[in-house]
Symmetry: C2
Subunit: 155 residues, 2 copies
Protein backbone atom coordinates (compact mmCIF):
# COMPACT_ATOMS: atom_id res chain seq x y z
CA UNK A 1 0.00 0.00 0.00
CA UNK A 2 1.67 3.17 -1.19
CA UNK A 3 0.77 6.49 0.38
CA UNK A 4 1.46 9.59 -1.65
CA UNK A 5 1.16 13.24 -0.63
CA UNK A 6 1.38 16.33 -2.78
CA UNK A 7 0.68 20.04 -2.57
CA UNK A 8 -0.99 22.56 -4.86
CA UNK A 9 0.95 25.79 -4.36
CA UNK A 10 -0.95 28.84 -5.60
CA UNK A 11 0.81 32.16 -6.06
CA UNK A 12 -0.17 35.14 -8.22
CA UNK A 13 -3.00 33.16 -9.84
CA UNK A 14 -0.54 30.46 -10.88
CA UNK A 15 0.12 26.89 -9.73
CA UNK A 16 3.54 25.26 -9.61
CA UNK A 17 3.42 21.97 -11.52
CA UNK A 18 5.91 19.40 -12.77
CA UNK A 19 5.89 18.38 -16.41
CA UNK A 20 6.98 14.76 -16.23
CA UNK A 21 9.06 13.24 -19.02
CA UNK A 22 6.71 10.22 -19.26
CA UNK A 23 3.99 11.28 -21.72
CA UNK A 24 4.63 14.95 -20.96
CA UNK A 25 1.83 14.90 -18.38
CA UNK A 26 1.68 17.59 -15.71
CA UNK A 27 1.54 16.59 -12.05
CA UNK A 28 1.35 18.18 -8.62
CA UNK A 29 4.75 18.14 -6.84
CA UNK A 30 4.85 15.41 -4.21
CA UNK A 31 5.79 11.82 -3.57
CA UNK A 32 5.75 8.87 -1.24
CA UNK A 33 5.29 9.17 2.48
CA UNK A 34 8.05 7.83 4.67
CA UNK A 35 7.55 5.71 7.75
CA UNK A 36 6.25 7.53 10.80
CA UNK A 37 5.56 10.81 8.96
CA UNK A 38 2.26 12.60 9.24
CA UNK A 39 0.61 13.27 5.88
CA UNK A 40 1.35 16.99 6.33
CA UNK A 41 5.04 16.43 7.13
CA UNK A 42 5.34 14.25 4.03
CA UNK A 43 3.67 16.86 1.82
CA UNK A 44 6.03 19.61 3.04
CA UNK A 45 9.15 17.41 2.72
CA UNK A 46 8.31 16.09 -0.73
CA UNK A 47 7.50 19.56 -2.04
CA UNK A 48 10.81 20.88 -0.75
CA UNK A 49 12.75 17.97 -2.24
CA UNK A 50 11.28 18.54 -5.68
CA UNK A 51 11.11 22.34 -5.81
CA UNK A 52 13.42 23.65 -3.02
CA UNK A 53 10.43 25.68 -1.80
CA UNK A 54 9.04 25.41 1.72
CA UNK A 55 5.24 25.57 1.61
CA UNK A 56 3.73 27.29 4.63
CA UNK A 57 0.72 25.86 6.44
CA UNK A 58 -0.59 23.58 3.76
CA UNK A 59 -4.17 22.47 4.38
CA UNK A 60 -5.63 19.13 3.38
CA UNK A 61 -7.79 19.63 0.28
CA UNK A 62 -8.43 16.04 -0.74
CA UNK A 63 -7.99 12.40 0.28
CA UNK A 64 -8.17 9.81 -2.47
CA UNK A 65 -8.20 6.05 -2.87
CA UNK A 66 -6.66 4.69 -6.06
CA UNK A 67 -7.36 1.15 -7.24
CA UNK A 68 -5.32 -0.24 -10.10
CA UNK A 69 -7.24 -2.92 -11.95
CA UNK A 70 -5.95 -5.73 -14.10
CA UNK A 71 -8.26 -8.38 -15.52
CA UNK A 72 -11.18 -6.92 -13.52
CA UNK A 73 -9.40 -7.41 -10.19
CA UNK A 74 -7.71 -4.85 -7.95
CA UNK A 75 -3.99 -5.51 -8.26
CA UNK A 76 -2.74 -2.51 -6.35
CA UNK A 77 -4.22 0.15 -4.12
CA UNK A 78 -2.81 3.41 -2.87
CA UNK A 79 -3.85 6.56 -1.08
CA UNK A 80 -3.14 10.14 -2.11
CA UNK A 81 -3.42 13.17 0.17
CA UNK A 82 -3.49 16.50 -1.64
CA UNK A 83 -2.74 19.70 0.24
CA UNK A 84 -3.13 23.30 -0.82
CA UNK A 85 -1.06 26.31 0.18
CA UNK A 86 -0.84 29.94 -0.86
CA UNK A 87 2.38 30.76 0.94
CA UNK A 88 5.97 29.64 0.70
CA UNK A 89 9.50 30.75 1.23
CA UNK A 90 12.70 29.88 -0.57
CA UNK A 91 13.96 30.06 -4.12
CA UNK A 92 12.68 27.71 -6.82
CA UNK A 93 15.30 25.16 -7.84
CA UNK A 94 16.76 25.18 -11.34
CA UNK A 95 16.76 21.40 -11.44
CA UNK A 96 14.11 18.87 -10.48
CA UNK A 97 14.93 15.26 -11.20
CA UNK A 98 11.24 14.40 -11.64
CA UNK A 99 10.67 16.76 -14.58
CA UNK A 100 10.39 20.42 -15.53
CA UNK A 101 8.88 22.79 -12.97
CA UNK A 102 6.50 25.31 -14.42
CA UNK A 103 4.21 28.03 -13.01
CA UNK A 104 0.91 27.53 -14.83
CA UNK A 105 -1.87 30.16 -14.82
CA UNK A 106 -4.94 28.86 -12.97
CA UNK A 107 -7.17 29.39 -15.99
CA UNK A 108 -4.97 27.15 -18.16
CA UNK A 109 -4.88 24.08 -15.92
CA UNK A 110 -7.77 22.45 -17.76
CA UNK A 111 -5.90 22.65 -21.05
CA UNK A 112 -2.86 20.68 -19.84
CA UNK A 113 -2.17 17.02 -20.54
CA UNK A 114 -2.50 15.12 -17.27
CA UNK A 115 -4.10 12.03 -15.74
CA UNK A 116 -7.87 12.25 -16.26
CA UNK A 117 -8.53 11.88 -12.55
CA UNK A 118 -6.11 14.70 -11.68
CA UNK A 119 -8.10 17.05 -13.90
CA UNK A 120 -11.27 16.17 -11.99
CA UNK A 121 -9.49 16.73 -8.69
CA UNK A 122 -8.37 20.18 -9.87
CA UNK A 123 -11.90 21.10 -10.97
CA UNK A 124 -13.17 20.53 -7.44
CA UNK A 125 -10.24 21.64 -5.33
CA UNK A 126 -9.84 24.98 -7.08
CA UNK A 127 -13.50 25.88 -6.63
CA UNK A 128 -14.14 24.69 -3.07
CA UNK A 129 -12.58 25.19 0.32
CA UNK A 130 -13.98 21.90 1.60
CA UNK A 131 -12.13 18.61 1.77
CA UNK A 132 -12.75 16.41 -1.26
CA UNK A 133 -12.98 12.63 -0.87
CA UNK A 134 -12.58 10.40 -3.87
CA UNK A 135 -11.97 6.95 -5.23
CA UNK A 136 -10.44 6.36 -8.66
CA UNK A 137 -10.12 3.11 -10.58
CA UNK A 138 -7.38 2.98 -13.18
CA UNK A 139 -5.86 0.37 -15.46
CA UNK A 140 -2.12 -0.27 -15.05
CA UNK A 141 -1.84 1.83 -18.20
CA UNK A 142 -3.26 4.98 -16.55
CA UNK A 143 -6.67 4.71 -18.18
CA UNK A 144 -9.42 5.98 -15.86
CA UNK A 145 -12.08 3.27 -15.55
CA UNK A 146 -14.36 4.80 -12.95
CA UNK A 147 -14.40 7.36 -10.15
CA UNK A 148 -16.50 8.80 -7.34
CA UNK A 149 -16.04 12.23 -5.77
CA UNK A 150 -17.68 13.61 -2.67
CA UNK A 151 -17.02 16.77 -0.75
CA UNK A 152 -17.90 18.18 2.65
CA UNK A 153 -21.10 20.12 2.86
CA UNK A 154 -22.00 22.33 5.75
CA UNK A 155 -23.83 20.32 8.40
CA UNK B 1 -0.80 -1.37 5.70
CA UNK B 2 -4.13 -1.20 7.48
CA UNK B 3 -6.35 1.84 7.03
CA UNK B 4 -8.90 2.53 9.73
CA UNK B 5 -11.67 5.12 9.78
CA UNK B 6 -13.92 6.14 12.64
CA UNK B 7 -16.39 8.85 13.54
CA UNK B 8 -16.99 10.96 16.64
CA UNK B 9 -20.75 11.45 16.78
CA UNK B 10 -21.76 14.33 19.05
CA UNK B 11 -25.36 14.74 20.14
CA UNK B 12 -26.77 16.60 23.15
CA UNK B 13 -23.27 17.23 24.54
CA UNK B 14 -22.58 13.50 24.46
CA UNK B 15 -20.37 11.25 22.31
CA UNK B 16 -21.24 7.71 21.29
CA UNK B 17 -18.37 5.40 22.24
CA UNK B 18 -17.76 1.65 22.40
CA UNK B 19 -16.47 0.10 25.58
CA UNK B 20 -14.39 -2.77 24.27
CA UNK B 21 -14.11 -6.01 26.25
CA UNK B 22 -10.30 -5.98 25.98
CA UNK B 23 -9.10 -3.95 28.98
CA UNK B 24 -12.43 -2.13 29.16
CA UNK B 25 -11.01 0.69 27.05
CA UNK B 26 -13.34 3.09 25.26
CA UNK B 27 -12.99 3.63 21.53
CA UNK B 28 -14.56 5.62 18.72
CA UNK B 29 -16.86 3.45 16.56
CA UNK B 30 -15.16 2.53 13.30
CA UNK B 31 -13.06 -0.08 11.58
CA UNK B 32 -11.06 -1.10 8.57
CA UNK B 33 -11.50 0.45 5.15
CA UNK B 34 -12.48 -1.85 2.33
CA UNK B 35 -10.94 -1.83 -1.12
CA UNK B 36 -11.96 1.04 -3.37
CA UNK B 37 -13.81 2.94 -0.60
CA UNK B 38 -13.20 6.60 0.04
CA UNK B 39 -12.25 7.33 3.65
CA UNK B 40 -15.64 9.01 4.14
CA UNK B 41 -17.59 6.07 2.73
CA UNK B 42 -15.68 3.74 5.05
CA UNK B 43 -16.37 5.92 8.11
CA UNK B 44 -20.11 6.01 7.38
CA UNK B 45 -20.30 2.25 6.66
CA UNK B 46 -18.30 1.20 9.70
CA UNK B 47 -20.31 3.46 11.99
CA UNK B 48 -23.53 2.00 10.69
CA UNK B 49 -22.29 -1.57 11.04
CA UNK B 50 -21.37 -1.04 14.69
CA UNK B 51 -24.18 1.23 15.85
CA UNK B 52 -27.00 0.95 13.24
CA UNK B 53 -26.88 4.77 13.03
CA UNK B 54 -26.27 6.64 9.81
CA UNK B 55 -24.04 9.65 10.46
CA UNK B 56 -24.82 12.62 8.24
CA UNK B 57 -22.10 14.63 6.52
CA UNK B 58 -19.16 13.58 8.66
CA UNK B 59 -16.18 15.89 8.23
CA UNK B 60 -12.57 14.84 8.50
CA UNK B 61 -11.19 15.94 11.86
CA UNK B 62 -7.88 14.10 11.94
CA UNK B 63 -5.48 11.96 9.91
CA UNK B 64 -2.99 9.87 11.86
CA UNK B 65 -0.01 7.63 11.20
CA UNK B 66 0.53 4.79 13.67
CA UNK B 67 3.85 2.98 13.92
CA UNK B 68 4.04 -0.19 15.97
CA UNK B 69 7.55 -0.74 17.27
CA UNK B 70 9.20 -3.94 18.37
CA UNK B 71 12.89 -4.04 19.33
CA UNK B 72 13.30 -0.40 18.20
CA UNK B 73 12.11 -1.15 14.67
CA UNK B 74 8.79 -0.36 13.01
CA UNK B 75 7.05 -3.71 12.62
CA UNK B 76 3.69 -2.45 11.44
CA UNK B 77 2.26 0.83 10.25
CA UNK B 78 -1.30 1.95 9.74
CA UNK B 79 -3.34 5.05 9.06
CA UNK B 80 -6.41 6.27 10.92
CA UNK B 81 -8.89 8.84 9.61
CA UNK B 82 -11.17 10.31 12.26
CA UNK B 83 -14.37 12.07 11.23
CA UNK B 84 -16.77 14.14 13.29
CA UNK B 85 -20.52 14.55 12.88
CA UNK B 86 -23.31 16.17 14.82
CA UNK B 87 -26.20 14.66 12.88
CA UNK B 88 -27.52 11.17 12.34
CA UNK B 89 -30.64 9.21 11.66
CA UNK B 90 -31.71 5.74 12.71
CA UNK B 91 -32.15 3.91 15.97
CA UNK B 92 -29.19 2.81 18.09
CA UNK B 93 -28.69 -0.95 18.00
CA UNK B 94 -29.14 -3.03 21.14
CA UNK B 95 -26.21 -5.20 20.21
CA UNK B 96 -22.74 -4.35 18.96
CA UNK B 97 -20.35 -7.26 18.55
CA UNK B 98 -17.35 -5.00 19.24
CA UNK B 99 -18.43 -4.01 22.75
CA UNK B 100 -20.97 -1.96 24.70
CA UNK B 101 -22.20 1.25 23.09
CA UNK B 102 -22.47 4.15 25.50
CA UNK B 103 -23.34 7.86 25.19
CA UNK B 104 -20.67 9.61 27.25
CA UNK B 105 -20.98 13.27 28.30
CA UNK B 106 -18.32 15.42 26.61
CA UNK B 107 -16.95 16.60 29.93
CA UNK B 108 -16.30 13.03 31.09
CA UNK B 109 -14.27 11.83 28.11
CA UNK B 110 -10.97 12.62 29.81
CA UNK B 111 -11.86 10.39 32.77
CA UNK B 112 -12.38 7.25 30.65
CA UNK B 113 -9.88 4.41 30.24
CA UNK B 114 -8.62 4.47 26.64
CA UNK B 115 -5.45 4.36 24.56
CA UNK B 116 -3.21 7.26 25.61
CA UNK B 117 -3.02 8.56 22.06
CA UNK B 118 -6.82 8.55 21.69
CA UNK B 119 -7.10 10.83 24.71
CA UNK B 120 -4.70 13.30 23.08
CA UNK B 121 -6.70 13.14 19.85
CA UNK B 122 -9.90 13.93 21.76
CA UNK B 123 -8.26 16.88 23.53
CA UNK B 124 -7.52 18.51 20.18
CA UNK B 125 -10.47 17.46 18.09
CA UNK B 126 -13.06 18.58 20.62
CA UNK B 127 -11.55 22.04 20.91
CA UNK B 128 -10.71 22.84 17.29
CA UNK B 129 -12.52 22.86 13.98
CA UNK B 130 -9.28 22.41 12.04
CA UNK B 131 -7.91 19.13 10.74
CA UNK B 132 -5.42 17.51 13.12
CA UNK B 133 -2.40 15.63 11.73
CA UNK B 134 -0.53 13.23 13.94
CA UNK B 135 1.95 10.40 14.21
CA UNK B 136 1.91 7.96 17.11
CA UNK B 137 4.47 5.32 18.00
CA UNK B 138 3.23 2.41 20.07
CA UNK B 139 4.62 -0.88 21.34
CA UNK B 140 2.73 -4.02 20.25
CA UNK B 141 1.36 -3.90 23.79
CA UNK B 142 -0.42 -0.53 23.28
CA UNK B 143 2.12 1.49 25.22
CA UNK B 144 2.54 4.97 23.73
CA UNK B 145 6.24 5.56 23.05
CA UNK B 146 6.13 8.91 21.30
CA UNK B 147 3.80 11.18 19.34
CA UNK B 148 3.60 14.39 17.33
CA UNK B 149 0.46 16.43 16.72
CA UNK B 150 0.01 19.34 14.36
CA UNK B 151 -3.10 21.15 13.29
CA UNK B 152 -4.11 23.58 10.55
CA UNK B 153 -3.64 27.22 11.32
CA UNK B 154 -5.18 29.97 9.30
CA UNK B 155 -2.89 30.97 6.47
Amino acid sequence: MQRVTNCILINNEQILLIKKPRRGWYAIPGGKMEQNETIKEAAIREFREETALHVKEPKLAGAFTFSIFSEKKIKEEWMMFTFISENYHGQLTDYCKEGDLEWVPLNQIHTLPMAEGDLKIFQHILTSKEVLYGSFSYTADDELLDYRLDWDKDI
